[in-house]
Amino acid sequence: MGVEVRVEGLTKAFGKQTIWRDVSLTLPAGQISVMLGPSGTGKSVFLKTLIGLIKPDEGHIFIEGVDIATCSEKDLYEIRKLFGVLFQDGAMFGSMTLFDNVAFPLREHTRKTESEISDIVMEKMTMVGLVGAEDKLPGEISGGMRKRAGLARALVLEPEIILFDEPDSGLDPVRTAFINQLMVDLNQQTEATFLIVTHDINTARTVPDNIGLLYHRHLSMFGPREMLLSSEEPAVRQFLNAQTVGPIGMSEEKDADELAAEDHSTLPPLPPIPLQLFPSDGRPRATQPEPGAWCAANGVVPPPGSFLDDGSSFTVPPQTSVAGGAR
């Protein structure tokens, strides 16, 4: 079962430039959360702060009662064993084969025999669909395969929290759909807490249980997926629907004149909320909410056409509609 991550009042600046200020949120145990934000808003910095690679200037991050913003280096190395991290390009060790890469954490941190290690590695390689590529070097395979290999390595110590740094960057739509499906399936199997940093709207709309938006040096909103997808808040609405009308400009935020010039009466209606991506066996994940549950509980009327199998042009992967239909 996953572990809860509680972030309180986190602030980080590089020199005079504030990256974000006063970020507070809780990643609920076992759920999938997505952190969104325009390019250059410090999403990756946030992720690295969560694992203690970057020290925040202020604030706390509590994981199992330990504040990793202030704990000792020794505690930090201990707490990191709870984490699995998928870095942007997989961050495979270039001098080792994929097998050795995935086996690396096991050889370092466990006293398992080589045959036990081999069993675990092959199991994870099967999970991410890389059987047959164990003897390749990271330089010899494609970016998508490197990402999947990075995922296998992140999974090998059975982490309680898994962080994904742009799992879909540089991948074509089909591979992105496969990675999304893989993440949902992994969450079903491992029941770990997931945090995905991305700016892929399709991923953000269909994969997570919770969405957060980093924008204008602060956390604009964090909450259940349906809350953000039905939100009228300008920045959230603009980002989640990929529109040019709204407070987010080409370079950071727009100025007052530009905003005033925009005619808000022409805002298109909110698109329907798509169904969440189901695990490939069609059974919902342990932490997966009923479609529309949040809207019903909070008296929010979802946009017309929400939660239908064919509801949205965003639900591209065919497995989704099959899985949803079978339900």
Binding site: Y77, R80, F83, D89, A91, M92, F93, E108, H109
Partner: protein, 257 residues
Amino acid sequence: MLGVVTGPLATAGKLFAFGADVLLAVFKRPFQFREFVQQAWFIASVTIIPIALVAIPFGAVVALQTGSLVQQFGAQSFVGSAAVLAVLREAAPIATALLVAGAGGSAIAADLGARKIREELDAMMVLGIDPIQRLVVPRVLACMLVAVFLNGLVSVVGVLGGYIFNVVLQGGTPGAYLASFTALAQTPDLYQGMAKALVFGLIAAIVSTYMGMHADGGPQGVGQAVMESVVITFLLLFMANFVMSALYFQLIPAKAL
């Protein structure tokens, strides 16, 4: 304006803090013996040939300079001793420094820099492994070991080069050259050459690992880190060389004739 002063000071401070971290990590177990051997072999393989090729003209030039100088004083019989002294005390450590910093150090900075921008170092830390203990310590120790051996190599090749140059090309007498070998040179000269090489290896490795691990901004950042590591290493090495030479003259009395 203040930044002009504080910038380099801050970097110097961080470099020292990094050096202290490395020193502490040296005593952490398990020692990465395999990495140490691989790195020592790697550094040796990129430096041995160039350093031998550098040592020959180095020895020759020293023989040429001292030869003509000593001749003017009418002390041809001491050409050998002057050449040995110059090679052992200065030429060998300096040539070692050039190659360890230029070839070994730049290779280390490029390697670690590439790992840094590919986020391999972050991944390593996340997997609960300290890159300083795992990657930096073996490189620093390997660099120091190789530097000491290279110093020996340059000494031998340099003295041989000087001998050949003096005897074959300048028409010196082999007997006089060899006989005066130990007239001025003493064993502490050899020790100080080795001590210098050890310190140079340490400085070159610390600077280049530090620069590599703090590379930033994509492939261009790696190039920048390599360039900076070579320049800073040279600066520090020549400074350290001066200080160590000055100390040596204060501490060890010159051999009486």
